[in-house]
């Protein structure tokens, strides 16, 4: 048998409190490799179309990749797969930390959970045993308390816990799943767990991950470390972290006041150099020398004494850009609150920012907001709003639905400036200034998820496969296909997105080949095909749910309203031309945006043909 895998999937049914295990299928390994490949295939096979994301039939699947706990760098992320209550479609979300290696130590490549527990429960998975433990006393607690109490109850400080906070319990549409302050935050996986009365999954194991060919693997690992050391991005992330406000500001892509503007000089208060002054400790995930995370503590001002692990770029933007105010202490506090209550910072910040614009336009008033004055510049309300969202208290109950549903509720033309795709709020790069990055946000089956296909050429100047002009439209379909297939390729081993910028396809293929012993994986060309297969399968999951080109729509503001000033001034997102180019590059039907039968057959996805473009 191959190495890398533990060769075992755990299936849990919360409704009748049963569990079974099954071996990995050889064909599943060869066709999908692992990680996101497994997640996409298992979810497609297991879920019937049209199910309610909160029904017992929905699943939440935890995946550890074949390179987790092998010694390979930056491959310790866990991923969760589910039908999203936020988008109604396929979803996968990824978090760092130590949970995935512990899954492997316990002997599992995947944990598939369905059904619904009658009462709050948590799962205790330790080596060959699975227990359904009382979770009632944990219900209502924040993440830190939940993890600590579980470790105390199990009398083992090394237990790893993936849990939800009050936001997940209260079915906030963008509640995440958290482990050691690292979040698989987007898409509402936490709400799916909450709907199942599942507070947490705790794992501990004592097995060793086998390596198929240790000489080859060690050689590849040395090469990976060498590529890190040679790459200037490594030094930057290692010393500074992942705060990129300098970059987006000088590109004119730091969205301000709900994507109406580029920021003025205020952004300078949120430069990495300012956060570095607050850093008290560096942190990292299992087996990752980058150690990009950091503990930040506010030194003075109204938020003095507040600390968090972070904020990373998306979060520092989410609590500055959407509300049009750069207060570093607030970004730290908001990050901490979201980590504790179990919220996706991007959707939380965007929902609050959307409310500020609704308030400015008079669509909502103090009567709607429980007396809070959501006037730009007034940031005191923000921590209170985060608490209200997590507990669905008052106006927070409406914010908890996200911008798409808020716009549906309030109407009055507000859909125009609800900054979301498929119900998922846009992240912190204005797509008008980077067309391939925007094209990824528009076409991702997850909605506006940046990690689905980072436009690294446009944003970071990475000249692979070629340098590109970020404002150009022509050729961006091909670039977006490249970026999305690359992300899927590297997520088969759940290589961190940041690390994928440093680890090239050759080294990554060798790592997988050395660890697993599967000869096909030594060929990067094979891996590119698997990446494309995964993207097409995910697309077909959504096609089965009725998604078409009409769902690949950017917010109207992004399409119609040029950025008023700054280095991206005058730019809009040329949606129709970009989508046409993308579908052509993909070999998908231009009218529906759905893969054609010949493409699906070419990729071995014949089991999806019923939903192919006609």
């Amino acid at each position: 048998m191959q190495g890398g895998y533990m060769n075992r999937i755990l299936r849990v049914d919360l409704s009748n409190r049963t569990w079974t295990t099954e071996e990995l299928d050889e064909k599943l390994i060869r066709d999908y490799i692992g990680g996101r490949g497994f997640g996409a295939k298992l979810l497609y096979d297991d879920l019937k179309p049209g199910i309610d994301p909160y029904s017992e039939e929905n699943e939440i699947i935890f995946i550890a990749g074949p390179l987790a706990a092998t010694g390979a760098q930056s491959c310790a992320r866990f991923e969760i797969y589910f039908k999203s209550p936020q988008t109604g479609g396929y979803f996968q979300s990824s978090g760092g930390g130590f949970f995935a290696p512990e899954m492997k130590f316990a002997g599992y490549d995947a944990i598939i959970i369905r059904g619904k527990s009658e009462k709050p429960v948590y799962l205790w998975i330790h080596d060959d045993k699975v227990e359904f433990r009382d979770g009632a006393y944990l219900w209502g607690l924040g993440l830190a308390d939940t993890e600590q109490l579980i470790r105390e109850e199990l009398n083992d400080p090394y237990v790893r816990v993936a849990a939800i906070g009050p936001a997940g319990e209260n079915l906030v549409k963008y509640a995440g799943v958290f482990s050691d302050r690292r979040a698989a935050a987007r898409g509402g996986g936490g709400a799916v767990m909450g709907s199942k009365n599942l507070k947490a999954v705790a794992v501990r194991g004592h097995q060793k991950v086998p390596i198929a060919n240790n000489d080859l693997f060690q050689q590849a690992l040395k090469a990976q470390v060498a590529t890190y050391r040679e790459n200037p991005t490594y030094e930057m992330m290692h010393t500074t972290g992942t705060q990129a406000s300098e970059l987006t500001a000088v590109l004119g892509m730091y969205p301000w006041k709900n994507f109406r503007e580029a920021p003025g000089p205020e952004w300078e208060k949120l430069q990495a150099s300012e956060f570095n002054k607050l850093r008290v400790r560096k942190m990292g995930c299992h087996n990752c020398m980058i150690r990009c995370s950091q503990i930040t503590k506010v030194l003075d001002g109204p938020y003095k004494g507040v600390w968090s692990e972070g904020p990373e770029y998306e979060t520092l933007w989410s609590f500055s850009g959407p509300i049009g105010k750069a207060e570093i202490g607030l970004t730290v506090l908001a990050d901490r609150l979201c980590d504790e209550l179990g919220l996706d910072t991007i959707s939380a910040g965007q929902s609050i920012g959307f409310a500020y614009e609704l308030y400015e336009k008079g669509v909502i008033t103090k009567e709607d907001t429980d007396g809070l004055e959501l006037v730009y510049g007034n940031i005191e309300a923000v921590p209170k709003l985060i608490e209200m969202i997590a507990h669905r208290e008052g106006f927070g109950d409406i914010l908890a639905e996200g911008t798409k549903r808020m716009a549906e509720k309030y109407n009055q033309g507000s859909e125009y400036y609800a900054i979301q795709v498929k119900g998922l709020e846009l992240p912190a790069y204005d797509p008008r200034g980077a067309k391939a990055h925007g094209l990824n946000l528009a076409t991702s089956p997850l909605g506006a998820d940046h990690n689905y296909g980072y436009g690294s050429q446009e944003l970071f100047g990475v000249p692979i496969p070629r340098p590109v002009d970020r404002f150009a439209v022509e050729g961006k379909g091909e670039i977006t296909k490249f970026n999305q297939d690359w992300a899927a390729f590297t997520e088969t081993g759940i290589l961190c997105t940041f690390a994928s910028l440093m680890t090239g396809p050759d080294v990554f293929s060798q790592l997988l080949y050395g660890a697993t012993g599967v000869e096909e994986f030594a060929d990067p060309n094979y891996m590119w095909v698997v990446g494309e297969r995964i993207v097409n399968l995910e697309r077909m999951f959504n096609a089965r749910e009725g998604f078409t080109r009409k769902d690949d729509r950017m917010p109207e503001r992004i399409v119609k309203e040029p950025l008023p000033y700054g280095p991206s001034a005058g730019q809009v997102f040329q949606e129709d031309a970009l989508l046409d180019d993308y579908y052509a590059a993909r070999g998908w039907d231009r009218v529906t945006g759905i893969p054609r039968a010949e493409k699906l057959l070419q990729l071995g996805l014949d089991f999806t043909l019923d939903y192919a473009a006609q």
């Binding site: 200037p232 030094e235 705060q243 990129a244 990373e312 690294s456 970071f460 002009d469």
Partner: protein
């Protein structure tokens, strides 16, 4: 040095990050260059102003990007990329995040 390209002059905004801030002791400034100046002209000017340390520091930043009004200079002609009145040139060390 080819500073005297024209009698006419223009103002160019320059932004510094990282080590270049230490060398220049500032994070931004406006410099006066002859009309028709290029990125190469600007760098020569900065070497003159701050000494050879500027070039040394610049060369030491692996992956340094030079942006002209938000666009990579490599796509605009490299060192020959033209500058214009009131444009902004950014010397940006590698930054990635999310």
């Amino acid at each position: 040095m080819t500073m005297q390209l024209s009698d006419a002059v223009m103002l160019v905004n320059v932004l510094y990050f990282g080590h270049l801030r230490e060398v220049t002791s500032k994070d931004k400034e406006a410099v006066e260059l002859p009309s028709g100046a290029t990125v190469g002209t600007l760098i020569e000017f900065l070497e003159d102003k701050y000494g050879p340390e500027y070039r040394t520091a610049m060369d030491a930043i692996k992956g340094l990007r030079i942006l002209i009004d938000g666009r990579d200079h490599t796509l605009l002609g490299g060192m020959d990329a033209p500058l214009s009145e009131d444009c902004t040139v950014v010397f940006l060390p590698p930054i990635a995040g999310g």
